[in-house]
Symmetry: C2
């Protein structure tokens, strides 16, 4: 008896606005016969252990609209999920069957192309999305951390801050949306590098967390504070790095405080995405980019994945975690049947840190 | 009899708007006794041969306003010219007296800190602004070219295109204000590097010049053309490098045509400088910088002066000039008494290429 259950979540309908559990997702219970399954060349069967719930997955659920193709480069056409298909995400898996000579049964991998399911049958040509997990690290670091934090999730803030932000000791960084997953890590890395770290967030509770747990030099609730005054007070020597998550009028105000040769790392402009064009905020002072020789740069984490920068990142991050220099909160949800609800809850603005779904014991 | 005449131009009043010859400048006729002049340590007497008329000098003529200090970094407080002082500019000079052991009488230098005068007595600590001119090059290249074109003037487009634009063969570059001094050189360098070069300019005569003399792949008169349509037609594969000289709505339209990982070299945003804040154009689609991982970067030519990049530039440029690969127009005015008029005429928008004042025969 080798046929076993393989529960998973498929797309039921393309969400237009906020995704809803019952409307857009469906739990299906299929089976897999691992022993008798015939693998093609370089194929895999993975037992999924932890799946990471990342907001970008939302972009893969929308309907294909050819006229917007140029704007959806974070999820190109072929990555869009069709109705009835298993949703694709990243996470940690154990290889339980393979004929790829570069991998062996029992290897742990971080994979970008897992299904939201208990077992994934991965077709050939997918191993550029596989990254080994060094088992020696597991005595110090929980396996769940490898589902996002020490892989793509942490790589984005680490690499963008290091290679776009170019932080130097004694400089000042301002981080907007600083209590978000990325903002928290950026602020903590900047503290390790000896910068003055100033952050904004949307609740007093988050501000307390930034000041008291993450040891930011200054933090304020942007809903209760005049941004211009706050930056004058908390960044008296101007801003050398702006880690940009929100865009719009915030960017305009911050630009006035940016120093000569400062860097703006554009990780997101969340205040602007859901507005129609004529309601978007027009930034009027971009000439400051010229007058103060500023660099403003966007990035996509895939440009760093699989490069030497990923190795540097994993080395630094595992050391910092062992040394207690990085505080990280994750919320672990149990069971594949709860993944859709966990995903939907990402968008209610209340999470601090990543949400991870534990699919199976290791 | 060693006392000789030393004519020069001093600032008569700080211009508020457009500078005027009689109102803001005064020709003075002083004397200098070169033989008996006692030099302090590392001082120089220079005989000025060619002076370059550069628009940035306008920034040094304004009155010091402490509240705007942060925005005038192209001309810091100490560089502002006081009333009654000789105006400072760049050009080519012959050293005729010095006790600095690193220089000798007869050396030719490009200097950033010359007076608008026939002879300049340069005080110590100024040699970081001096750059040797290799006399071997003079058999192929006119000396006047070293007053700007092969020094700071050409370095700005060369270095910014190479190190911010990062041009790759087969890519598409769009240059706004393409018939200006910088735009012309950027377009020609990009042609040498094998790019598709598209430019905009403000008259049919300038468009003809871009197409027929500079061999741009496409050029159009922005006053007669819908920019969005023109870019769709002339940049069918999108834009990989935007060389930005104008800002405002042009930038917004160009952003829609920019490719993933494209670069925007911010050399100026001339459409926006003279507008009060509430009349400046607000750019609404900056989220494209995030969505397409775009780099947008300002620069100041002094960050390249005196570095290896300057050496690369002079080597490449002198070769390209000798090989006839770079077309360059300069307007040479005769005599220091005509410098103020030449400077004022920079701002009437009719010049193609640099204006140089010949002060003395070499």
């Amino acid at each position: 008896m080798t046929i076993i259950s393989n529960k998973g979540v498929v797309l039921k309908a393309h969400p237009k606005g906020m995704p809803k559990v019952d409307e857009h997702f469906e739990l299906v219970d299929r089976t897999i016969d691992i022993e008798n399954l015939k693998l093609g060349e370089n194929e895999f069967v993975l037992r999924n252990l932890y799946l990471s719930l990342d907001p970008y997955v939302r972009l893969t659920l929308k309907e294909h609209e050819p006229k917007h193709e140029r704007t959806i480069n974070k999820a190109s056409k072929k990555q869009l999920v069709q109705i009835g298909q298993i949703i694709i995400g990243a996470g940690v898996s154990e290889i339980i069957k393979t004929n790829n000579p570069n991998f062996k049964v029992g290897d742990l991998v971080y994979a970008l192309n897992l299904g939201w399911e208990e077992y994934s049958h991965i077709k050939s040509d997918a191993t550029s999305n596989f990254f080994f997990i060094n088992k020696d690290l597991l005595k110090d670091i929980p396996l769940s951390y490898f589902a996002s934090f020490i892989k793509r999730g942490g790589l984005a803030p680490y690499a963008s801050l290091k290679y776009i932000g170019k932080p130097k000791e004694g400089e000042t960084i301002f981080v907007s949306a600083a209590a978000g997953f990325v903002g928290q890590l950026v602020g903590q890395i900047a503290k390790i590098k000896g910068l003055r770290v100033v952050g904004s967030a949307g609740s007093d509770e988050k501000v307390d967390y930034l000041l008291n747990e993450l040891k930011f030099d200054a933090a304020f609730n942007y809903k209760k504070t005049d941004l211009n005054k706050a930056l004058s007070e908390y960044c008296p020597n101007g801003i050398d790095i702006y880690y940009e998550n929100v865009g719009g009028q915030t960017l305009e105000t911050v630009l006035n405080h940016c120093n000569q040769f400062s860097r703006i790392v554009v990780c997101g402009m969340i205040s602007q995405y859901n507005l129609p064009f004529n309601e978007k905020y027009g930034v009027k002072n971009l000439e400051i980019i010229f007058l103060r020789s500023i660099t403003m740069q966007g990035f996509i984490v895939s440009q760093y994945l699989g490069t030497d920068i990923q190795n540097e990142f994993e080395k630094d991050f595992t050391e910092w975690i062992k040394a207690g220099k990085i505080v990280y909160r994750e919320k672990v949800i149990d069971g594949i049947e709860n993944i859709a609800e966990g995903f939907v809850n990402l968008f209610d603005g209340r999470n601090i840190g990543r949400t991870i779904v534990k699919v199976s014991d290791y």
